[in-house]
């Protein structure tokens, strides 16, 4: 059997009385892409936040490669191989595109406390960053500040930063939202590439059903914070619960 990279056990969080994630137990093996779907406010992003440590769990555990990481801070989890991109763009606005990416790679190389070397002398960082920018087609904008990018380009940089981090667990939160039809495939191809690497696992939150259909090996459905379905795409998509709660009637038939 393939190795289980990430595992959540009865993971729960409450905000006041509101149970946003409700005892979610799930395993994510290497080499698999899991799509997480569910209505707005179902708890998908919150589930990500719990895994990557942005918010503390009320109960339950998160396990990475067999180690309990529930009590660790965000940075520590990241260093152990949890990487995520954000649903709402979240970058370093007044630094250049290239610098944004270099910071990510520098962090992976554990080079943050180098006090007395010159940053610009680390050419290997620059080279790697440029290469990734080329892959997401941002190389022409690499000296612009992030504030000067259009929304769609910022989304691309968001994805590029996750790739730069090269983690074991990739978490994408609606990577293609706001991306135009000709750009989205570039990103989706990249995700497909990552998925092909059998030592990684990918978690993908997405509302576009066609994207899920083409990429996902497995779908889990969150509803009101709880795990409502888990299985291969075709099966889950066909289930009545999902149809009812999530997709409503397809637009074209309205």
């Amino acid at each position: 059997m393939t190795q289980i990279l990430l595992e959540t056990d009865a993971l729960t969080v409450r905000f006041g009385g509101h149970v946003a994630v409700d005892a979610v137990t799930c395993k994510f093996p290497a080499g698999e892409l899991t799509a997480i779907v569910g209505p707005n406010g179902a708890g998908k992003t919150t589930y990500f936040n719990l895994i990557s440590g942005q918010i503390a769990a009320t109960a339950g555990t998160v396990t990475l490669k067999g180690q309990d990481i529930t009590r660790l801070g965000v940075a520590e989890r990241c260093r152990r191989g949890l990487g995520r991109a954000f649903q709402l763009t979240n970058l370093f606005p007044d630094l250049s595109v290239l610098e944004n990416l270099r910071l990510v790679i520098q962090s992976r190389k554990h080079n943050g406390f180098g006090l007395f070397s010159m940053a610009d002398s680390h050419t290997e960082l620059t080279a790697e960053a440029s290469e990734i920018l080329e892959r997401v087609r941002l190389d022409t904008q690499k000296d612009q500040l992030v504030t000067e990018l259009s929304h769609g380009d910022q989304r691309k940089l968001e994805v590029a930063m996750l790739i730069g981090l090269d983690p074991l667990v990739y978490m994408f939160d609606e990577p293609t939202a706001g991306m135009s039809v000709d750009e989205a495939p570039v990103i989706l191809d990249l995700i497909a590439e990552i998925k092909a690497d059998t030592s990684k696992t990918v978690l993908l939150v997405e509302h576009k059903l066609d994207v899920i259909r083409t990429l996902a090996d497995r779908i889990i459905v969150l509803h009101n914070g709880a795990l409502a379905a888990d299985g291969p795409p075709a099966e889950v998509m066909a289930s009545a619960v999902v149809q009812e709660a999530y997709m409503g009637k397809e637009l074209d038939h309205v």
Binding site: G17, H18, V19, A20, D22, N224, G225, E244, G248
Partner: protein, 343 residues
Amino acid sequence: MTAAPDHRPTFADVSLGERLDKAMPFLLIPILVVLGFFAIGAPSSWLTLTVSGLAMGMMIFIMASGLTLVFGLMDVINFGHGAFVSVGAFVGVSVLIALGDWTGATSLLLNMSAVFLAVVAAMTVTGALGWVFERVIVKPVYGAHLKQILVTVGGLIVIEQLIHVIWGPDEIFINRPEMLKGAITFAGAAMEKYRLLAVGIGAVLFIAMRMILRRTKIGLIVRAGVENGPMVEALGYRLRVVFVGVFIAGSALAGLGGVMWGLYQEVITAGMGERMMVLVFIVAIIGGLGSVEGAFIGALLVGLLQNYVAFLEPKLALVSNIALMTAILMWRPQGMLPVVKAK
């Protein structure tokens, strides 16, 4: 139209502890007063200290109220507030000196009219000054704390120096109106009459501010404007007008605070407002930014604690405010009743 599918989230019960935690800020004052009673022992001393501590708190609140608007709501760190306090005091005291016959008379009515006129004059002048200050000094630096600190300190220095130019470099001594001198003794406790007046004004001010901020959209517009000004304008509000208005109000309140504080101290100097700034900032912070209730509770806490500690262990009085602030921020990192989240 079709209704969207409804997804009711799961709700669990909120425990008693969490509820108590919510109400805690309001309980702090009674708790402190009771603790004070046991620590002090002598009932008459306790009574004196408690009442005068509350009154001192009210005066601090009057000075801090304007800052709660400007710093708490508008997110402008305005060190110029201290200068407005001073200007208020100088204008008010000048009026009182000019009305020497009224203040010297043993008629409560005449005395209070003089004080009233002094307050009106002070608030008008500081309000107008606030208007100029906003236009010339603060407008270009909204959203930039550091620059705010610098320009408003610049403004502070300039205004203080102008006070020197206009009123001369000497400190001015002023006696309180006849009927506000002295104290009332009750059950062995002495209570300055003037402090009673401060309590009255503070209470009225508190209620008025609360009403205005609750009943109108002004508070909302300012808070939203600080976070995302262009969006507020895109919804159709003239943000500039609201900001200027609130700033003027804050400055005028500083003027009121100045008159009250000047009359309490009975001696005014150009630097008097500046000296109060740290304390006033502490009050605004522990109360929680933008919260009139918080500033009110905070001011009373500061007043009480200062008195109790000064009585029990004078050496510690010095650090009591800082200790209070640190303790409250450790307990509630955003202050007691934050309306605006600190950045």
